[in-house]
C-alpha cells in the first residue's frame, strides 16, 4: 500500500516542487548522493518519491506506473492524446510558467494575426513551391491549434532546441515555442502573433486515472489531499 509520486529529478523545477510540498507540510528530499535519483517523503505515510525526467512523467502517469506526478501542463497536453481522460489536473502549482506561442520575424510588418499567417502561408507556398515551415517540438498542440483556427498551407518541422534560430538559418519561416519573458524571441528578431497564444503552461500536480487506486491507496491519497489542501 503505497502510492508513487513522480517529481522532476533536477534543476529549478525539482527545487520549486520540493518548496511547494514543503510549504504544505510534506517534506520531499533526495537521499544518497547528489547524483542518485532516490528520494524520501516525510509528513505523510504511504507515499513513495520517484525522481524522473519531467518529460517522462506524462507517459508514466498515463501508464499508471506512478499515481501522482508533477510536470508542465504543456508536456501533458503534448505527449498524451485525450490527456484529460488519462490524467486529472489536481492543482496548478504557480511556478514554471511559460506560454506556448507562435512567433514570426519582426520585419513581417504585414503579419499580426493567425488570419495574416494563413494568407501569408498561401502566398508563400505559391512563391516557393512548398508549405511555410513552422519549427516546433510541440507538434500535437500546434497542429490542433492551427487546425481549430483554420490555418492551412503550413508544415511543422521538428526542432528540439535553439528553435528561435531556425528562421535565421532558413530551416523554418516561423516558430512555435515556449517563452516566459520573450527575451530570446526579441534577441532573435521575432514577434508573437497577437492571437498566437496556444497554451499558458505551468507546473501542475496531476493524478493518474489508470494507476492502482485500490487496497488502501485511495485512503492514502485522501489523506495527502487534505494535508496539501488541494
Amino acid at each position: 500500500m503505497t502510492i508513487k509520486l513522480g517529481v522532476p529529478s533536477k534543476g529549478r523545477l525539482m527545487d520549486k516542487t520540493f518548496d511547494w510540498f514543503g510549504a504544505r507540510g510534506v517534506v520531499l528530499s533526495k537521499t544518497g548522493s547528489e547524483r542518485e535519483y532516490t528520494g524520501a517523503v516525510d509528513g505523510v505515510d504511504g507515499v513513495e518519491l520517484v525522481l524522473l525526467s519531467a518529460g517522462e512523467i506524462p507517459r508514466e502517469l498515463a501508464a499508471g506506473r506512478i499515481h501522482l506526478g508533477v510536470t508542465g501542463s504543456d508536456l501533458v497536453r503534448e505527449k498524451l492524446a485525450n490527456w484529460d481522460r488519462r490524467v486529472k489536473d489536481v492543482a496548478p502549482m504557480g511556478f514554471g510558467g511559460a506560454d506556448l506561442i507562435i512567433a514570426v520575424p519582426n520585419f513581417w510588418v504585414d503579419v499580426d494575426t493567425l488570419d495574416d499567417l494563413d494568407a501569408v502561408a498561401a502566398a508563400f507556398r505559391k512563391a516557393h513551391g512548398f508549405r511555410l515551415r513552422i519549427a516546433t517540438k510541440y507538434h500535437r498542440l500546434v497542429r490542433d491549434f492551427l487546425q481549430a483556427n483554420g490555418v492551412a498551407d503550413y508544415q511543422l518541422v521538428d526542432s528540439q532546441g535553439a528553435t528561435e534560430g531556425t528562421v535565421r538559418n532558413e530551416t523554418a519561416e516561423a516558430i512555435a515555442d515556449i517563452t516566459s519573458t520573450g527575451e530570446t524571441l526579441r534577441a532573435n528578431g521575432l514577434k508573437i502573433l497577437s492571437d498566437g497564444l496556444i497554451h499558458s503552461s505551468q507546473a501542475t500536480l496531476f493524478k493518474s486515472r489508470s494507476a492502482d487506486w485500490d487496497g488502501g491507496n485511495r485512503d492514502i491519497w485522501r489523506k495527502l489531499e487534505q494535508v496539501l489542501g488541494v
Binding site: 492524446a81 485525450n82 520575424p105 519582426n106 520585419f107 513581417w108 510588418v109 504585414d110 499580426d112 494575426t113 488570419d115 494563413d118 494568407a119 501569408v120 498561401a122 502566398a123 508563400f124 512563391a127 516557393h128 512548398f130 508549405r131 511555410l132 507538434h139 500535437r140 497542429r143 490542433d144 492551427l146 487546425q147 483556427n149 483554420g150 490555418v151 492551412a152 498551407d153 503550413y154 508544415q155 511543422l156 528562421v167 535565421r168 532558413e170 519561416e173 528578431g189 497577437s194
Partner: protein, 362 residues
C-alpha cells in the same frame, strides 16, 4: 484489432460486384512515400496517418487511403476511359476515439472518364448503392461544384474569391473571411495602422529568413487594394447562405437552386450539371424523389472533392462511421498530374462496418 473473416468475405463479395460492373482490379503498395501525401493533405495527415522511415526511401506512410496511389497509377498508364476496383487495408491513427479501428478494409470503385461526367457520377453512386442494397442506410449527397460556382461568381476581386475558395473545406475560416469581405467585421487595428503608416518598415528590424522583404511589400500592396474594395453585398452573401443551408430532397433543391440562379447566374451551368446528374441517377433506378441533398455536405471532411459528393450512413447506429463515401475529385488529379487533369469520380465501402451493422441487428 484483427480484421475478421466475415469482413474479408464481405470485401470479396463487394470487390466481385465491382469487377462485374466493369472495373479492373488493381493493387497498390501499403507503404507510400510520405512527401506526396503531405504535400496534398498538409499537416493534418500526420495526425491521421502512420509515418515511418526507410533508410533509403525516406519518410513513408502506411497507406491512409487508396485514392492517391490509384490516381498516380492511372496517370502513368494514361488509359481512358478506365474503371478500377481495389480492396485492402488502410491505416489511420485514432487520436480521440479509442474504439475506432486503426486498420480496416476499404473496397473502392473509381471511374476516370471525361466524356460524360454526369453519367460517371451516377454510375459510381448506383454501383455503390447496389452493393449496399437491402441495408438500412440513409444516403446523403451534395455538390461542391455549385458552391465553387457561387463563390467564383461573386462580384468581388479574384484575390477574395481565391481566399474563399481555398477555405471552402474549413467552414469557420470561410465564415470569418466572408464576414470581413462583407464589411460585417472591421479589420484588426494592426491592419489599419499598417495601411496608414508612411513607413511600414520603420523599427521593424532587419530582413532575414526565406520570406523576403519583397514578399512583405507585395502583401501590403495586396492589402491596400483589398481595403479599397467595396464590401461583398448583403444580397450576395444571403444567396450564398441560402445555398449552404439547403437541406431537402434533391428535386426540391434543384427547384430552389433554379430560383437562386435567377439572382446568381454564375451557378446556372453547375445547376444544369446537377439536373443532368439527377436524370442520370433516375435512369439507373435511383429514387431521386427521396434522395437527400445538403448544400454544406462534406465541407468539414472532404478536401479535394470538388463536385458531386455522397455518403451512406447507418441511421440507427450513430456510433458507426459512414458505410460508404465518395465523390468527384478532378482537382486532385490536376495536382498529382502536374497540371494534366483527368476527370475522376470514385467511392469506397467499408465492409467491416456492414458486418457490424448485421451484428447489431442480430
Amino acid at each position: 484489432m484483427t480484421i475478421s473473416a466475415a469482413g474479408r468475405a464481405e470485401a470479396a463479395r463487394i470487390a466481385a460486384q465491382f469487377a462485374a460492373a466493369g472495373a479492373l482490379p488493381v493493387e497498390t503498395a501499403i507503404l507510400q512515400p510520405a512527401d506526396t501525401l503531405l504535400d496534398l493533405y498538409g499537416e493534418d495527415i500526420r495526425a491521421r496517418a502512420y509515418v515511418t522511415a526507410d533508410p533509403l526511401a525516406g519518410e513513408m506512410m502506411l497507406r491512409p487511403d487508396f485514392t492517391v496511389p490509384v490516381v498516380q497509377m492511372h496517370m502513368e498508364s494514361q488509359a481512358e476511359p478506365a474503371r478500377y476496383t481495389y480492396s485492402g487495408e488502410v491505416f489511420r491513427k485514432q487520436e480521440s476515439d479509442e474504439r475506432r479501428p486503426h486498420e480496416f478494409l476499404q473496397v473502392g470503385y473509381e471511374v476516370f472518364d471525361g466524356k460524360a461526367p454526369a453519367q460517371a457520377d451516377a454510375e459510381v453512386f448506383a454501383v455503390i448503392a447496389k452493393a449496399l442494397d437491402g441495408l438500412p442506410l440513409r444516403a446523403a449527397t451534395g455538390d461542391f461544384g455549385i458552391l465553387m460556382a457561387a463563390v467564383g461568381g461573386l462580384a468581388t476581386s479574384e484575390a477574395r474569391k481565391a481566399a474563399l475558395m481555398r477555405h471552402l473545406w474549413r467552414p469557420r475560416r470561410f465564415r470569418a473571411l466572408l464576414e470581413r469581405f462583407g464589411g460585417k467585421v472591421a479589420p484588426p487595428a494592426s491592419r489599419a495602422a499598417l495601411l496608414s503608416a508612411d513607413e511600414p518598415f520603420k523599427g521593424a528590424g532587419a530582413e532575414f529568413g526565406l520570406r523576403s522583404r519583397d514578399e512583405v511589400e507585395q502583401r501590403i500592396e495586396a492589402l491596400r487594394k483589398d481595403a479599397a474594395l467595396p464590401p461583398i453585398s448583403g444580397e450576395e452573401i444571403s444567396l450564398l447562405d441560402m445555398i449552404l443551408s439547403l437541406r431537402e430532397t434533391a428535386q426540391n433543391v434543384l427547384a430552389n437552386l433554379r430560383d437562386i440562379a435567377v439572382d446568381m447566374p454564375a451557378i446556372v451551368s453547375a445547376v444544369d450539371r446537377l439536373e443532368e446528374r439527377l436524370d442520370a441517377l433516375a435512369a439507373r433506378g435511383v429514387d431521386v424523389t427521396t434522395l437527400e441533398f445538403e448544400g454544406s455536405y462534406g465541407r468539414t471532411s472532404m478536401e479535394y472533392y470538388d463536385g458531386f459528393v455522397f455518403g451512406f450512413y447507418a441511421e440507427q447506429r450513430p456510433d458507426l462511421p459512414p458505410v460508404a463515401t465518395g465523390g468527384r475529385y478532378d482537382a486532385l488529379t490536376r495536382v498529382l498530374g502536374q497540371g494534366r487533369a483527368v476527370p475522376a469520380v470514385g467511392a469506397v465501402i467499408r465492409p467491416e462496418v456492414i458486418v457490424s451493422l448485421g451484428e447489431g441487428a442480430a
